[in-house]
């Protein structure tokens, strides 16, 4: 394609690059995508490949020889993984609800300039973004509250994220005062206005912030390592670390008492755990992707 034939200039610097440049770009991007995608395919393949195939290929299969769900059956047999999955779901759902409730109410209070204590509260939220109190003091506070070995220790300390509060606040500020005033004239109280008018108007931003909180809870691992010593309360990420990264062998007892000689290869079980922890992220990813740049830019511009 010659450069002269391009009359309408597309946006950006392109006016029809030379063929060689296009090929180089294509190869580079293809390489980038391959490097990201191939590991996922390998992980899924290893989790569903047959025992013999896994053993023959040294523990990691790039493309499965068939569909063998033994590894999944073994982890959903009432053992350690299934329990951790339940814990992770409880933390993620409960945590996201608590986070959203606390953050939206706080953000709403901050979004009305001139309301009681608005400026000092805003300062408190803004400064919280700038520093973190440090690991040891955090640990001491959780311990003094008696939250060690409680699932609340995985929720409350990270429940209110200052950045998310600011994102919500800047959205709430864009709701015109007149809307709220007219509701007030009709006799609605603050909570009524918040619940029946502000929240329904903010569905999109609530979805984005909620998903970010949810992904955060699902992915959190270190707080669990720090605060939870009772293995029955371990979330999935900690199970993943113990049995996959640190390669601790999963005994039949860990897997709900299946006969040891019938267990699928460890590699397959490990990859099945990995897939199980990936799936929720993959499910919400399309929603995240549709909204995140919007949400992130709002926060960055209006903060």
């Amino acid at each position: 394609m010659s450069m002269q034939t391009n009359v309408r200039v597309p946006k950006g610097i392109d006016d029809g690059p030379a063929a060689s440049a296009r090929i180089v770009k294509g190869i580079v991007l293809l390489l980038c995508c391959t490097v990201v995608i191939v590991p996922f395919i390998g992980v899924i393949s290893t989790s569903i490949a047959s025992q013999q195939h896994v053993t023959n290929s040294g523990g990691f299969v790039l493309w499965p020889d068939g569909l063998n769900l033994d590894a999944y059956k073994s982890i959903f047999n009432g053992g350690v993984v299934q329990r951790a999955l339940v814990v992770s779901f409880v933390i993620t759902l409960g945590g996201t609800l608590i986070s959203l409730a606390g953050s939206t109410m706080l953000a709403y209070a901050l979004s009305r300039p001139g309301s009681f204590g608005q400026r000092p509260m805003l300062m408190i939220v803004l400064f919280s973004i700038l520093f973190s109190p440090g690991l040891i003091p955090n640990y001491l506070v959780v311990k003094e509250f008696g939250l060690l070995d409680s699932l609340l220790a995985l929720i409350l300390p990270t429940a209110i994220n200052g950045f998310n509060v600011i994102v919500l606040r800047s959205f709430f500020m864009s709701i015109p005062d007149s809307v709220l005033d007219s509701a007030r004239c009709d006799g609605a109280g603050d909570f009524r206005i918040f619940w029946s008018i502000v929240l329904p108007l903010s569905r999109a931003v609530l979805a984005v912030v909620g998903l970010f909180y949810a992904v955060g809870y699902w992915n959190a691992f270190f707080n669990a390592m720090l605060y939870i010593s009772d293995t029955a309360k371990w979330p999935l990420q900690l199970v993943l670390r113990t049995y996959v990264i640190n390669n601790t062998e999963l005994s039949s007892g860990d897997l709900g008492g299946a006969a040891a000689d019938q267990l699928p290869p460890q590699e397959s079980i490990q990859m099945a755990i990995l897939v199980v922890s990936l799936v929720p992220i993959l499910i919400v990813y399309p929603f995240l992707q549709r909204h995140f740049s919007k949400g992130m830019l709002t926060g960055a511009v209006k903060g």
């Binding site: 803004l126 700038l130 001491l140 003094e144 992904v215 990420q237 990859m271």
Partner: protein
């Protein structure tokens, strides 16, 4: 209405600040918080007297920051320029969808995935074995640890990092390209004289902010892989605090190190913002 959220924030973000008091105490976990003996600045002696372990952690932290500024920081810029130069919106969107994904995975998952590729029985070493070559110890080699960390950060966050740059690139006036073309500028010269100046402000801003964060390097990422390479090669300030405090029970000393790290960190961030203002860009926080 602000009460629940504000209470949580005060309890878990501001109350812990008082916990830093144990940096000045001989703290023992079984003695009530208020009753430990005060020891003044004794716990800070590891910093002032240059304790070997502490200095090593500081050195590793700064070295990792340096390497990551050199290799991690430019990666999303290059990728954003590449994506921006694509003609097809559809290809661009597909590539973005793929490359943004790793950002949302936890470090536990990312490292587990890396083990499957680079580990002793991972993809690459299996390949080498099959072809009669000697295997490479990617994960347990202390000398290669920083390279390993860096490649993981690049894999996880390069795609995501392009978002801000892509947004900035759309703000560049297309008329400038038109004018440059009329003046006969080649595509490379357009890149150099129009595109790069268009995002220079953002690059400088983000670079300053990254430097403000110099003392914080991938804590979760490192703690997960530390037992493979050993502490000398992998200890950074944050892991030093965890290993010596929570694990080894030197609460006072590690709280002192954490406190100093935090104070220097905040000073650096605020300083970075000031510098960013001088360069005429909006910082991360403004007196709203």
């Amino acid at each position: 209405m602000a009460l629940p959220g504000l209470t949580l924030m005060l309890a878990f973000h501001y109350l812990p600040l008082f916990g830093n008091l144990i940096a000045f105490q001989e703290y023992l976990p079984f003695v009530p918080l208020g009753r430990s003996a005060w020891v003044g600045l004794e716990n800070f002696s590891v910093i002032f007297n240059g304790d070997q372990e502490f200095l090593n952690a500081l050195k590793n932290t700064l070295l990792i920051t340096l390497v990551q500024v050199l290799f991690v920081f430019p990666a999303p810029i290059a990728l954003a320029l590449l994506l921006n130069s694509l003609l097809s919106e559809r290809i661009k969107r597909v590539v973005q969808s793929v490359l943004y994904l790793p950002h949302f995975l936890s470090w536990v998952i990312v490292i587990a995935i890396f083990q499957q590729i680079l580990g002793g029985s991972g993809l690459i070493n299996n390949f080498l074995r099959e072809h009669g070559m000697s295997t490479i110890d990617f994960l347990g080699n202390p000398d290669g640890f920083i390279a390993l960390l860096t490649s993981q950060v690049i894999w996880k966050d390069t795609g995501w990092g392009t978002i801000l740059f892509l947004a900035a690139l759309t703000q560049i006036d297309p008329g400038l390209y038109e004018a440059a073309r009329v003046d006969g500028a080649s595509r490379w010269r357009q890149l150099w004289h129009v595109t790069v100046p268009g995002i220079r402000g953002l690059i400088i801003l983000l670079l300053i902010l990254r430097l403000g964060d110099s003392l914080t390097v991938g804590f979760e990422q490192i703690i997960l892989q530390q037992n493979l390479v050993g502490r000398p090669a992998s200890e950074v300030l944050d892991t030093y605090v965890y290993n010596n405090g929570v694990l080894a029970g030197q609460w006072g000393v590690s709280a002192a190190v954490g406190l100093v790290k935090g104070l220097v960190g905040v000073a650096l961030v605020i300083g970075a913002n000031k510098v960013a203002h001088i360069f005429g860009e909006a910082g991360v926080y403004r007196k709203s």
